[in-house]
């Protein structure tokens, strides 16, 4: 059938079928800004304006739009001129991966055309249909408000950061103020000392709309810089805000085939027989692959350095399935519809086996054995007969002796659950043979180099015949630190000779990709009479599902993070990593630390309460400071790599300042105010404040390596090629800022390209909070080498005897005598005129250090004591990430990370029926926060200078995931007096805990 649309103002006629969605029609005609997030309108990534109204094109039949006007961002920018809304999104730092940015821009347009002066609430409602996993909505909301002001003719708001005054938690006035004058628990809040006396920081640390860069505490010893440390706009923002084709799927090839997966309906079963004859016979089907026709090559799918941690307990297709969603077969066909149809014609005969889902049950005698295949013999699993993939043990000192000497010993068990990373762009890969008959895999991955090395043996190709291209990525958060679907498209291209595309549906992304490890964690802690830790033991059962992919290393990070925040002479980690039949846990931002810190921080609060100590005083007495050793680290490395050789020492920490600033910002003194705790007219509500101490790492020491290469162009601009993988975090921008700083040029003179295994140097990839620190140092070193060559050339051109005192700045090389030469002239001279050479350099970096960032996470809640409903009203995080190379992208990381952490703590959970089928593989039932229900959030950057980092930087990517769950537990306890040792804090769970506590009292 034919339909006619006014598409971005142009009358156009399209041929379509009755069941084609508007999303597919638009993408088929090159409107790539309208994107797939689901096929049920859940994500809003496919939003368009239909007659000026924002609607989801994925649930609109193209035929429904016949005769109507459809607008997308492709119609908004004219050449280089952006629409003011697009400019505001760039200026305010509202774009991270940019996958759903076009939809948000359209939402803003609909709103501002009707409502030129919207309230924040109206803005949030306008964005409510577009789920964002990245920004926490803070900057998109600011962007819309800013765009409204500009469209009304007002000036854009200034970009000056708010500088805060340092405070000390050891200042007596400060303590009096926060604890009550008499220092007693029940005392009324103290009085704020008058202005100008010691404790003066003001009350205006509240969120103010219009202040874009985050609030700052400035370190005194930061060297002056021009590009580094500035709130530069993102280098990739224009293409993202315009919706230019940039992502894996924004790409067309003639003859493309479409792949679909057949997955297991059983949690545990043997495949007795597969018959694919009818599927193959279907017109349009080109290949069907499964265990009978694909070589059985053992591997581990986690995207990690060589050698991947063992055991290698996977094959591309097995004759056994181990969870509902496990791979059974894959089809390549002329269309997705044909491929889907073909799946129905693959006959699979299963022998169902008993299954086990809970890590506590799986290790019991008689539990079903998940890996009973003969290859497990000698494969490096600890005790597969009892479903134990790894046993991890680490001890410093002697805990038993420590407990014997302790004045008090406390023990408590905590449970953390399974959640999904939920990137709005699901996994997608496209493979094809290039002209040289090399296999090109274009894939949404965080680890292109690992993928190339890991997929090679599965496909039976040498690494040199594979090229992996990472285009823009629509979010990853760890789920794309995996070689997940690249082997499937690779096999299908090798069999058919055709390009093959595989995109997971939303349901498959939930069930058949990767998730966060559930754990059962027991802490046992001994303290002396003064409240100092003398012994601490952490016992963990980690649930790694049926495959151990990241099972070892996530759990070692749990131990490392769970036993590093507080000094303790005797500590022990005892962990079993357990196979079960749940969908596979893997890497998820935080990587074992959010689990550990929930248990640790709540446990420390419980100990403080039992000791009758103020919780902050107790934690401060024990937490690590500059100069303290992280003594468990050498015992908890990356498996066989044994990568930590010496005991690391903390070189920088702003933790005390973070806690003080957080207390001040959240008005911690209200904990002492009985008036504040109650809500007038609502006797069932109680308010509370909570906190958590956070400490993370920066890169995996002696393992994470990044390379960078820089060359000069004729006009004095530079190409910067990095293997690092910007998955929306802003690392392309941060790395460019580092290069620009060293080379004395503005940011726009750096043209960054990342990443392509043929073009860019190696990088382990985007994980472990490593990119700014590791790849950033590589960039800095490459830029420094290029700078030397430029100085040498300047000396030649200016006839100087030596060049060590030539300085680069303002796109010129300046000699000490005041003469200078432009980089453009230097480039032309060296490329064309005399002693010709390409000014270029390559460098790489690996670090023995993993300097910890620190943070204080604070939360304010309201608890309904009759229903158990918890409403989170405020989240504040004060973070020491060293020197933020870009304060806006750093704040964006914290805002987005806190929002994911809020979901983890409060409402997200994967829930199964008793057969192991996921009950909620859709947004809605699987609840992630929307723009119109977010708590107030604020970020304070507490600057320190990390001596081992580029320009003093440490990591910021993962630490925001660590503190929200324990801070909420702390706040709920503050409100109700009840500890809840299990997340998420959903109404019935909280209600049950309150009721149980109430019954215990009676």
């Amino acid at each position: 059938m034919e339909i006619t649309l006014s598409l971005n103002g142009e009358e156009r006629t399209f041929s379509t079928d009755p069941d084609e969605s508007l999303l597919r029609l638009l993408r088929r005609h090159g409107i790539f800004s309208v994107r797939f997030g689901s096929d049920t309108g859940e994500t809003g990534a496919a939003a368009v304006l239909l007659d000026g109204r924002l609607v989801n094109a994925d649930i609109l039949l193209a035929a429904q739009a016949d005769g109507h006007a459809v607008e997308t961002v492709e119609g908004m920018a004219h050449g280089l001129d952006l629409h003011p809304i697009q400019e505001a999104f760039i200026r305010t730092g509202a774009i991270q991966s940019g996958y759903s940015t076009p939809a948000m821009v359209l939402a803003a347009r609909e709103l501002l055309e009707k409502t030129p002066t919207p309230t924040e609430e109206e803005v949030r409602d306008a964005l409510s249909g577009i789920l964002d996993r990245e920004t926490g909505y803070v900057r998109p909301v600011q962007a819309v408000l800013e765009a409204a002001a500009v469209l009304r003719g007002e000036d854009p708001s200034p970009m000056e950061p708010t500088i805060l005054t340092p405070i000390s938690i050891y200042d007596q006035d400060f303590l009096d103020f926060f604890r009550g004058k008499d220092g007693g628990e029940d005392g009324a809040p103290g009085e704020r000392p008058p202005e100008g006396e010691r404790f003066t920081p003001e009350v205006d640390t509240k969120t103010e709309v219009g202040v874009r860069p985050p609030k700052h505490i400035v370190a005194t010893d930061v060297p002056e810089t021009k590009v580094v440390g500035q709130p530069e706009t993102k280098v990739d923002a224009v293409k993202l805000v315009k919706g230019n084709p940039a992502f894996t799927d924004d790409f067309e090839m003639r003859g493309m085939l479409y792949a679909k997966l057949l997955t297991s309906p059983h949690a545990h079963a043997r495949i007795l027989e597969i018959d694919d004859a009818e599927a193959r016979a279907l017109p349009g089907v080109h290949a069907v692959i499964h265990y009978k026709n694909i070589p059985r090559v053992r591997y581990a799918s986690g995207g990690q350095s060589y050698p991947n941690p063992r055991p290698y307990d996977q094959v591309s297709f097995d004759d056994k399935v181990r969870y509902v969603g496990d791979r059974v077969a894959a089809v390549a066909a002329e269309s997705v519809a044909i491929a889907e149809e073909a799946l129905k014609f693959i006959k699979v005969e299963y022998e169902e086996l008993p299954a086990v889902f809970d890590e506590r049950e799986a290790i019991k005698e008689g539990a079903p054995v998940i890996h009973d295949e003969p290859e497990m013999e000698g494969a490096g699993a600890y005790d597969p007969e009892h479903n134990i993939s790894h046993y991890i043990e680490a001890e410093v000192g002697d805990v038993e002796q420590g407990f014997a000497q302790a004045e008090h010993v406390f023990e408590q068990t905590y449970r953390v659950h399974q959640v999904q990373q939920c990137p709005i762009e699901p996994h997608i890969a496209i493979s094809y043979w290039d002209a040289d008959e090399r296999l090109v895999i274009r894939t949404s991955t965080q680890v292109p180099f690992h993928v190339r090395r890991m997929v090679a043996p599965l496909l039976g190709l040498p690494v040199r015949r594979i090229r992996v291209i990472k285009p823009r990525i629509g979010g990853g958060f760890g789920v794309k630190q995996e070689m997940l679907i690249e082997d499937i498209v690779g096999h299908l291209t090798m069999i058919t000779g055709r390009p093959v595309r595989l995109e997971l549906t939303r349901e498959e992304e939930f069930v058949s990709s990767r998730t966060r490890h559930p754990q059962t964690i027991t802490y046992k802690t001994g303290v002396d009479a003064e409240g100092a830790l003398v012994a601490q033991q952490m016992t963990v059962l980690g649930n790694t599902g049926p495959y151990a992919t990241h099972g070892l290393t996530v759990q070692t990070v749990t131990g490392l993070r769970g036993l590093s925040t507080y000094n303790c002479p005797n500590k022990r980690f005892d962990c079993r990593v357990v196979y079960t039949n749940i969908p596979v846990p893997g890497a998820y931002r935080g990587y074992g630390a959010p689990q550990a810190l929930f248990a640790l921080e709540v446990h420390m609060e419980e100990v403080a309460e039992a000791l009758g100590m103020d919780v902050i005083a107790f934690k401060a007495k024990n937490w690590v400071r500059v100069g303290d050793p992280l003594d468990i680290a050498p015992h908890l490395g990356e498996g066989e790599a044994e990568n930590v050789h010496e005991i690391p020492i903390i070189l920088s920490s702003g933790l005390e300042e973070c806690i003080a600033q957080g207390m001040e910002a959240i008005d911690w003194h209200r904990r002492q105010d009985p008036e504040w705790r109650r809500v007038p007219g609502k006797p069932h509500l109680r308010r509370g404040l909570g906190m958590a101490v956070c400490m993370h790492g920066t890169a995996i020491p002696n393992l994470d390596m990044g390379g960078a290469s820089i060359k000069i162009n004729d006009d004095g601009s530079f190409n910067l090629l990095v293997g690092a993988t910007d998955l929306g975090t802003g690392s392309d921008t941060v790395l460019s800022q580092i290069a620009a700083e060293v080379l004395g040029v503005p940011l726009q003179d750096i043209i960054i390209y990342s990443s392509d295994t043929d073009m860019t140097p190696f990088d382990t990839g985007a994980y472990a909070s490593s990119t700014t620190y590791i790849s950033g140092t590589a960039v800095k070193r490459a830029a420094e080498a290029v700078r030397e060559q430029i100085k040498e050339r300047a000396a030649l051109m200016l006839d100087l005897k030596e060049w060590s005192n030539v300085v680069l700045g303002d796109r010129r090389a300046h000699a000490p005598d005041g003469r200078s030469v432009s980089l453009e002239d230097i480039a032309l001279h060296s490329l064309h005129q005399q002693d010709q050479r390409q000014i270029m350099a390559t460098a790489s970096f690996v670090s023995g250090e993993s300097p910890p960032p620190f943070a204080g996470q604070f939360a304010e809640v309201e608890v309904d004591t009759e229903t158990g409903q918890v409403t989170v009203t405020k989240l504040i995080m004060a973070v020491d990430c060293g020197v933020a190379i870009n304060p806006i992208t750093a704040a964006g990381q914290v805002e987005g990370g806190m929002t994911q952490a809020l979901g983890y703590a409060h409402c997200e959970e994967m829930v199964y029926d008793d057969q192991g089928a996921l009950l909620n593989p859709h947004f809605g039932p699987y609840k992630i926060y929307r723009a119109d229900e977010m708590p107030e959030m604020d970020v304070i950057l507490v600057q320190t200078v990390e001596p081992s980092g580029p320009f003093g930087a440490k990591a910021v990517a993962e630490i925001p995931k660590d503190g929200v769950a324990p801070a909420l537990a702390s706040a709920i306890h503050d409100a109700t007096g009840v500890w809840i040792r299990e997340i998420p804090f959903t109404p019935e769970r909280v209600s049950r805990a309150l009721q149980a506590a109430h019954e215990n009292e009676q």
């Binding site: 069941d19 088929r28 989801n56 479409y258 309904d864 409060h906 909620n920 119109d932």
Partner: protein, 258 residues
């Protein structure tokens, strides 16, 4: 063998295999299309609920041209055409505050821009506070078939949606909006679908209308004294006992607020 694959190469279709799309000019035409023997047809208005679940349907009948999008205000009454968009109710300053509030809770803005009042009624969600509010507003729906108009109460309609429709189309819903109202809910997050919600109205004569979400397969009208006998279906967000307990707590709250 499956039906034909007429689609073009490279087409990516997640939708089921529809054979035809119709856009009738008026209600009469729409009803005739729906009445054809041997054709499995579905009505599409906004598409928010129907389009993702079109499996097993051969043809769709899109109602966008037949009108039925009026909001008529009377004294203590309101009549909504079935094709009134949910967002239009949110934007209607003359509509009761409660109705606007529960309409806003029907979904995020994209879904409200697309979804219609008729859609909320013929594809009822257990968690729809909008439906609960319509129930307490004593809603009467009109089902139009080729045989004529069939008025009935919304609760009667909801008791057997397919039976009530008789292959026809809901054309409008009429509400009695007088009296005082109250609404409360328990949910995981502020905009999440409720686990349990209560909506109540005390009408001009002093009679109580109470509706609950989350205690049955659909929102239902109930008398407070019947709550103890409820056997709500459980899911992971709320056991049967918890839902019953919440029904009591929330009912107490709305009654106190009336």
């Amino acid at each position: 063998m499956p039906a034909t694959f007429s689609r073009k190469r490279g087409d990516i279709v997640y939708m089921p295999h529809l054979q035809a799309y119709h856009r009738p000019e008026n209600l009469e035409q729409a009803l005739q299309l729906l009445a054809r023997e041997g054709v499995r047809s579905a009505v599409v208005a906004g598409g928010t609920r129907i389009v993702p679940t079109l499996k097993g349907v051969d043809e769709v009948v899109d109602l966008q041209r037949i009108g039925l999008d009026e909001q008529r205000h009377g004294a203590d009454s309101l009549s909504l055409g079935a094709l009134v968009r949910v967002q239009s109710v949110v934007d209607d300053e003359r509509a009761p505050d409660l109705l606007r509030e529960v309409a806003r809770r029907e979904g995020p803005n994209t879904m409200r821009n697309q979804g219609t009042i008729g859609g909320a009624i013929v594809a009822p969600r257990a968690e729809s506070e909008l439906l609960a509010a319509l129930l307490v507003y004593d809603a009467a729906v009109t089902v139009q078939t080729l045989g004529g108009a069939h008025p009935m109460s919304l609760s009667e309609f909801l008791a057997d949606v397919q039976g009530s429709l008789r292959g026809g189309i809901v054309t409008d819903v009429a509400l009695q909006t007088g009296g005082a109202t109250a609404h409360t809910r328990v949910a995981r997050t502020p905009q999440d679908a409720p686990i349990v919600a209560a909506v109540a109205r005390r009408d001009g004569e002093g009679a109580l209308h109470l509706a609950l979400c989350g205690v049955g397969e659909r929102p239902l009208l109930i008398a407070p004294e019947e709550i103890d006998d409820l056997q709500p279906p459980a899911d992971f967000r709320g056991s049967s006992a918890y839902r019953r307990q919440m029904a009591r707590v929330l009912t107490e709250r709305v009654l106190a607020a009336l």
